[in-house]
Amino acid sequence: MAMTDSGTDFRTRMQNWLPKIVLAPSFAIMVIFVYGFIAFTIYLSFTGSRMLPTFDLVGWQNYERLFRVRQWDTAVVNLAIFASLYIVISTIIGLMLAIFLDQKIRGEGALRPIFLYPMALSFIVTGTAWKWMLDPAIGLEATFRMWGWESFTFDWIKDSDMAIYTIVIAAVWQSSGFVMAMFLAGLRGIDNEILKAAQMDGASNVQMYRRIILPQLRPAFLSAFVILSHLAIKSYDLVVAMTDGGPGTSTWMPAVFMYEYTFTRNQMGIGAASAVIMLMTVAAIMVPYLYAELREKK
């Protein structure tokens, strides 16, 4: 609704400027606090900063070191395992629960908040609770053994090779209810007449979901994917609270790596380099999505 004519009266001109004025602070904030800081981090990654930022450029040295550090490989591999499992399992469970809840279930009003509430907890609380639950000495394993199932063993959290999967369990617990809410919203938004038509066409329930309903949930799938992948890449609190990166460094993730190197190990330059790699990964996922999303909406 932009009006560019000359001779426009004051009020109209004002109304033309207002939207931009209103958006300007947000824009300025983003430029400084997000993109300025990103630029600063990129700059830092080329400096020899250790405890505090310094401004001596050292070229690609930090990146070279980063890729020689064993923990970085661990962190990247862990992120790959964690992100793919977390996203896939949360989506499957979320979708399943949403479909089940959509079958005119008695007590839906009580079940929904039960599924949803973990999202309300901070990762610190979630991590602590699961750490206790999965601890073989006092948690599930001990309980089952106490109840007489002597051979029951579930000690993944103590096992370097399996510990990352316990983090997947806790993360899925936290987010799958939220995914369920998104799918449920999507399901409830589908026009019932289409379903009736499909029934007349003789589609079975399974066919109906596979052929008619799921394709229509594409936006919910996309939203879930974006939210879950951003949680996965940012996952820090949960790891710290649950395993503190252990056993050993077997559950490190890039965000943990970055924090450790920047703030605990006084290697700010390498920390910044890892942050830049993380940002580039996020951008590689997000930019195509945003591009498609924003073009479509025009």
């Binding site: 505090l52 000690d155 103590k158 050993g248």
Partner: protein
Amino acid sequence: MRMMKITGAALVLMSSTAIVHADNVEVLHWWTSGGEAAALNVLKGDLEGQGVGWTDMPVAGGGGSDAMTVLRARVTAGDPPTAVQMLGFSIQDWAAEGALANLNGLAEEQGWADVVPAALQQFSTFEGNWVSAPVNVHSTNWVWANSAIMAELGLEQPGSWDEFVAAMEAAEAAGYTALAHGGQAWQDATIFDSMVMGVGGPDFYQAAMVDLDPEALGSEQMVEAFQRMETLRGFVDDNFSGRDWNLASAMVANGEALFQIMGDWAKGEFIAAGQTAGEEFQCFRVPGTEGTVTFNSDQFAMFNVTDDASMASQMAMASAVMSPEFQVAFNTVKGSVPARTDISDAEFDACGQLGMAQLADAAANGGLFGSMAHGHANNPSVQNAMYDVITAHFNGEFDAATAAEEMVTAVELAM
């Protein structure tokens, strides 16, 4: 004219708030649990008695790493706290940044140089200037043992590595957990310190852990230290990974486990369980490290403050920290020993008195070394690089020989 007045009023207001601030010390620390926080409260009371207010800034977690992050944010913001609880090399790093105040006047007046062991002064001074006030010395090469189990199995305090292993084998055979341990990087490293000291002695410890000599790091002795770690690994229970140290202490106190290798803060757990040093539990040096003390020392590093009033209250705080009364009051609670060696041990229990005597002895004979595990042997990047190798090895990712090699590369990368 009106402008002038308003500006004038604003100035008065600003300076008055500045004065209010000046009478306060803002203290960043991670002593938040019951006993130690209560001990700190002694210091607070002392200062308030002198008209110096206390602004508390506790940040717990990660052995102070979260607190260090906060500190960095505060310094970057141009608003550092007055005093910060700090460990070892962090003090040197901050001093190198020029962020710390000069306490020389007070130190000279009170003769700190004469009463604080030289090994501690390495950390409290930077380029010859006092920058922090040491609160305590924790020694980290202690073994904590359950007296009842020892009596049951007819064990004496072991005097050598072999006796130590034999004692653990006996405990294991009797169905006890031989060694209570928590699989966290810093706990693994705490044990490792003692193994290095025990295998190679003080000179080797100095070469490998402090001077970071690649030859020492990759030497046969280092391989042997790692082999001892493997031996110990055989004596811990299956469920050790990620366990907090205090739960490991509880295992010894409850009679589930025979030994724990841990710093002197573990004593607090036994006392909290209603036990007494020398009776229900006992303490001795890790076999092979007798005569040496690996330590870490909590200190209050004093940050640069600008105005006179703030400096005055900062000095008051430094003075209070170094006062014998506080050193006694704090350390009896904390389990550690005073940073001053001229204090009476009357108030301390058996382990405390032993610790004080051994500290004075080691300080006199050059047996006092900063603990690598607690950031008193080298800077944090090297320290954590070592952690990575030690923990990975302890969790079975490398054999001892590979671990020694990894140690060399990890340290090189971190420098």
